[in-house]
């Protein structure tokens, strides 16, 4: 079996999309890891739904842990010059008002139209919507990052999502453990494959048809 990217590698690939000056919101899981791979020559500002812009990395010691400084995933963060705090209404004005340049969310399913499902499977549990729906509707640019298939090797990039939607037509870029796919008005465009994977390999694990980019390349990691 071909080797898939691990979470760190996916996070690294996501971080390549960070540009100087961007306001970025990172969701739970792999997206949060992307903060460890900010290109050295740029400055970005992270937004936390719970009312913080410009927080720094996780503390390295227990002594640095401050219960008054956590990010939206509930984990401790550290102060950084230029940081500021605000309340939840203001925080989501930033999101709903389209002031967030880039949001990275985990995905359960993404459709060929860019619909995202990432908060509930629709059965057995109420699910946890959190701020995901607000972000999916509000962010200027949305990256969905996820394994390309389920544990049973079934596609998660689908013609139509079967789980409850987070938002319709919101995903701009899909980063998976085997590919990078752009959502375009004409459908899904395969732009990169993981080392050792061909376009055909990726297509075989993807429900809708993929257009292949003229500049198709191997993911640089």
């Amino acid at each position: 079996m071909k080797e898939r990217l691990d979470e760190q590698a996916m996070a690294l690939r996501v971080a390549r999309e960070f540009k100087d000056g961007m306001i970025i919101n990172l969701g739970f899981g792999i997206p949060t890891l992307a903060a460890n791979f900010i290109p050295e020559d740029i400055e970005v500002i992270f937004h936390a739904e719970n009312g913080c812009l410009g927080y720094g990395p996780m503390p390295r010691t227990v002594e640095e842990e401050d219960f008054h400084l956590v990010n939206a995933t509930g984990t401790f963060a550290t102060p950084r010059p230029g940081m500021c705090f605000f309340d939840h209404a203001e925080s989501f004005s930033m999101i709903r008002g389209r002031h967030i340049d880039l949001c990275v969310l985990g995905g359960l399913q993404v459709s060929e139209k860019g619909d995202l499902a990432n908060w509930a499977t629709g059965v057995g549990r109420p699910g946890n919507i959190g701020g995901a729906m607000d972000l999916a509707f509000g962010a200027h640019h949305l990256i969905a990052v996820m394994t390309h298939t389920t544990k049973n090797n079934e596609p998660k990039v689908l013609k139509e999502c079967t789980y409850p939607l987070t938002a319709p037509r919101c995903v701009n870029l899909i980063v998976t453990d085997i590919s990078v796919i752009e959502v375009t008005p004409d459908g899904l465009l395969l732009k990169e494959t993981a080392p050792g994977w061909t376009a055909a390999d990726v297509q075989a694990l993807t429900e809708p048809g993929l257009k292949i980019s003229k500049d198709l390349k191997q993911m640089e990691l």
């Binding site: 401050d66 309340d87 939840h88 989501f92 109420p126 319709p168």
Partner: protein
């Protein structure tokens, strides 16, 4: 003379009645949760409560159960009121995880049908609470259009985009956690413990605040007050100040 300080937490929550709708500030197990007010309400015993909060919380862990997050000593959250059976309905954005070996009272009572859970996207939750405070009758937003969140809601296309109509979320009492207060009820917070607290303060009929410290009138700079005293009805001061949750 204006003095909103009450004798203690028990006095602060004494008139919360059966069937009351309660806002609770805070964002998960970090600070910003009014733990002492919640304990006092558990003791007071009011029933059939509706709890509106971003994250109701996990309550007190059973012996040996693993906690979802690290918490401060003496931390209590809205999960406590679910465990005591005082809550009939939760309106929230994040019901919480439900993993093997974890204590998750919301999920347990939801599965047995003892608890109703209504999910609201986090920003819509904040804006609906703000609407109650700001006298907005209803508002159109894109968030949720084309998803299950639009069910039962009026839809309208504005500027080429689908919107849904949301109404204010109103409550009888707001339980708020702040850092410092003066006797007028002016409040400041600390870091991300601010979260829903300033939004809820003033959005309920009665706003009750748990603070670390009461300070002299005039000692909070007028430039840095986050919640103006106009939104606050009662202040209860923690005996141990900043220590503990």
């Amino acid at each position: 003379m204006i003095n909103k300080v009450v004798a203690g937490f028990d006095e602060a929550v004494a008139d919360i009645f059966n069937g009351a709708v309660i806002f609770m500030g805070g964002f998960g197990p970090a600070n910003g949760t009014p733990s002492n007010l919640l304990r006092a309400l558990a003791k007071q015993g009011a029933k059939n409560l509706t709890l509106i909060a971003n994250t109701p919380g996990y309550g007190r862990s059973a012996p040996g159960a693993k906690a979802f997050r690290k918490t401060l000593p003496n931390y209590d959250d809205g999960g406590l009121l679910i465990q005591t059976g005082q809550v009939k309905k939760v309106i929230c954005a994040f019901p919480g995880m439900n993993r093997p070996g974890m204590t998750a009272p919301l999920h347990e009572k939801w599965q047995t049908g003892e608890l109703e859970v209504e999910m609201v996207p986090q920003g819509t939750l904040a804006e609906r609470i703000r609407a109650a405070k700001a006298g907005i009758g209803a508002f159109f937003i894109p968030t949720g259009a084309g998803t299950v969140m639009e069910q039962g809601k009026e839809k309208r296309v504005i500027d080429g985009r689908e919107h849904i109509l949301e109404y204010p979320l109103k409550a009888d009492f707001a339980l708020v956690r702040a850092y410092r207060a003066d006797r007028y009820g002016n409040l400041v917070y600390q870091g991300t413990s601010r979260n829903f607290n300033p939004v809820m303060a003033g959005a309920a009929k009665v706003t009750i605040v748990e603070v670390d410290e009461l300070v002299e009138l005039g000692s909070l700079s007028p430039e840095v007050i986050v919640t103006p005293g106009i939104y606050v009805d009662r202040i209860a001061v923690r005996e141990n100040g900043k220590k503990g949750a």
